[in-house]
Symmetry: C2
Subunit: 354 residues, 2 copies
């Protein structure tokens, strides 16, 4: 399995996902700005993976802060955190990783800057390795939801490449396959950037898990023909009521799955939950360049001057979600309660959570 991201000789090396599977090229990031660009331009993508990238980017950035003074260091570090947080708006794991790194810095106010830098570097590695462990647990926890003989639809890529390794939605699929279940996968190609066709197909092929690709428009056809037993996707942000932001197209998959009485599961680490947001309407949706839609490999697909709207994510209301598979277990509706319980949040929260 190709590692998504690794630290090497004070560089952050990222497998360039824009070029997979045709080319396996490593993008070597030498600065925080390089990592921000890699996230923005989607050389690395997937909510957990960009969390790891943010942590490593900050570790890289912190090394360039030339001061012995804690206050100066902290203030420059916070500024870097702000910068990388704004690289992409929807996945909350980015913010989660930045905040976790900031907590490390803030807890070390009585230590030398050199020591802090070392700890930050280590923490980014802990986040990477922790993410892989979390994915293994998500895979394990999802196992019971996959019947032997099942055909599973997945959208976009929530695999090893979208995470530190192993994957969330694809982690559950991988775990079922490893457990000896006879499964097959239908992969939505996932326009415009074809993460399903390129990345999920690549990972499934590596694992020898039988699969076939379809255009995103064909999912309903196969559901109605009862050729799909369940759907699993990843998530970029989950509001406190369970409303889930994920790759554009997830919402309509959930609607047609419900119409066809097919379970629709979300697989995501707890770092994907955003309890600051009461519901999905508050999750910011990234609008990307029209060019991603209207061009391919330098070819203009439509007539000269054609314009496109290109929202990268959509919101699936909690009511369409049959369960959320996390490292601590499978959450069920009502999500307001199950999410708070699993995160250990007390029930006497302020009016913000009402």
């Amino acid at each position: 399995m190709i590692p998504t991201i690794r630290w090497e000789n004070n560089r952050v090396c990222i497998i360039d996902q824009r070029k997979l599977p045709q080319k396996k090229e490593w993008l070597v990031c030498r600065s925080l700005q390089d990592v921000i660009a890699a996230i923005r331009e989607m050389a690395i993508r997937g909510a957990p993976a960009i969390g790891v990238a943010a942590a490593m980017g900050l570790a890289l950035g912190s090394q360039t802060i030339k001061t012995e003074n804690y206050g100066t260091f902290r203030s420059k570090f916070l500024k870097m955190g702000q910068q990388i947080k704004s690289a992409r708006p929807t996945a909350v794991n980015l913010r989660w990783a930045v905040e976790r790194m900031i907590r490390v810095v803030e807890g070390m106010f009585d230590r030398s800057v050199e020591e802090i830098k070392k700890t930050i570097r280590k923490e980014s590695q802990v986040i990477l390795e922790g993410d892989i462990q979390i994915n293994l647990m998500i895979g394990h926890n999802g196992l019971g939801l996959i019947p032997d003989g099942a055909t599973i639809l997945t959208h976009c890529n929530a695999g090893a490449l979208a995470t530190g390794g192993y994957g969330t939605a694809l982690g559950v699929i991988r775990a079922a396959h490893e457990a000896g279940k006879d499964i097959r996968v239908i992969v939505d190609e996932t326009r415009p950037l074809l993460q399903g066709m390129r990345l999920t197909a690549f990972e499934l092929m590596e694992e020898n898990i039988p699969f076939t690709v379809i255009v995103d428009s064909a999912a309903g056809y196969f559901m109605r023909k009862k050729m799909i037993d369940l759907v699993i996707t990843g998530a970029d942000r989950i509001a406190s009521n369970g409303d889930t932001a994920n790759k554009i197209g997830s919402y309509q998959l959930a609607v047609i799955a419900k119409e066809n009485k097919i379970p629709f599961y979300v697989a995501a680490p707890l770092s994907t939950f955003d309890l600051d947001l009461e519901n999905g309407a508050l999750i910011p949706i990234e609008e990307r360049e029209p060019d991603e839609v209207v061009s391919f490999a330098g070819h203009l697909l439509g007539p000269e001057g054609v314009d496109a709207l290109n929202p990268a994510f959509d919101i699936t209301p909690a009511g369409y979600i049959s369960g959320i598979i996390t490292e601590k277990g499978v959450l069920k509706s009502p999500y307001e309660n199950s999410i708070r319980n699993i995160l250990g949040v007390k029930d006497d929260r302020g009016p913000k959570m009402r």
Copy 2:
């Protein structure tokens, strides 16, 4: 407006829709086989357009039948009809046009073969011109369904290029624009062959009707944001209960439209109805080559060896359809009755229709 198909110097000239909008190339068909290939390879596509092409292909083919004997002519002509009918299985207009041409031949049993050939040739032109007239009437009949200020979603291309001219779904949109209504269109790109991005965008741009393209996966997002007021698509075959075959993706659009209380209309000529079929489950669905999905312009999109399923159409059950706009008016549910009434079919039909 570019004509979809025309007869010129005993040749059938077809604008090659595989190359639009980047190239405007005419495909010159010199034989029935050329026309069959053009239909099969989708140089011409769209249910009404392939009906016209079939008629012209038969006119072309009939000229090569070297006999003065009516019986010999008829039997060779019927064979040609069989051949062209099998070019594509889903759109019933192909069969409709062939059967109409056969009726002409069968009605002329007492005439010379030369005379029959001339009449056949004329009949194919009547079908072409009649289709344009029918589309104008569909446009007129659909006008009342388009509120001023509406944003209309359409899928695939049901425009001038899909018909003899003017269009069915796009005919209604065109009529609303010509009537001075302030409308805009959201165009599903329509993978895998991008008829929305290439053909519908091209037609709307020619007409100066404001539009934007989206990936097929984004339709639900815009419906849920209340940015779409209604959906109109064409149809390839409509069963006697109103179940409608149309381009893959239409079914899921209809489901998410219903979920969001957005009307979903089908616009189609009466030649699209197939009263031989009780419901949509009986409509044959064409499965096309995986290559259309996994390759683009010679680039393999996925990993080496990637496979795809590529159904070209799906069935939208009648229950999701708010109305069917025809040249004789807008049909409403229950479609069993409204379809029989408009086609002038008596109610005392045999058990076949039960």
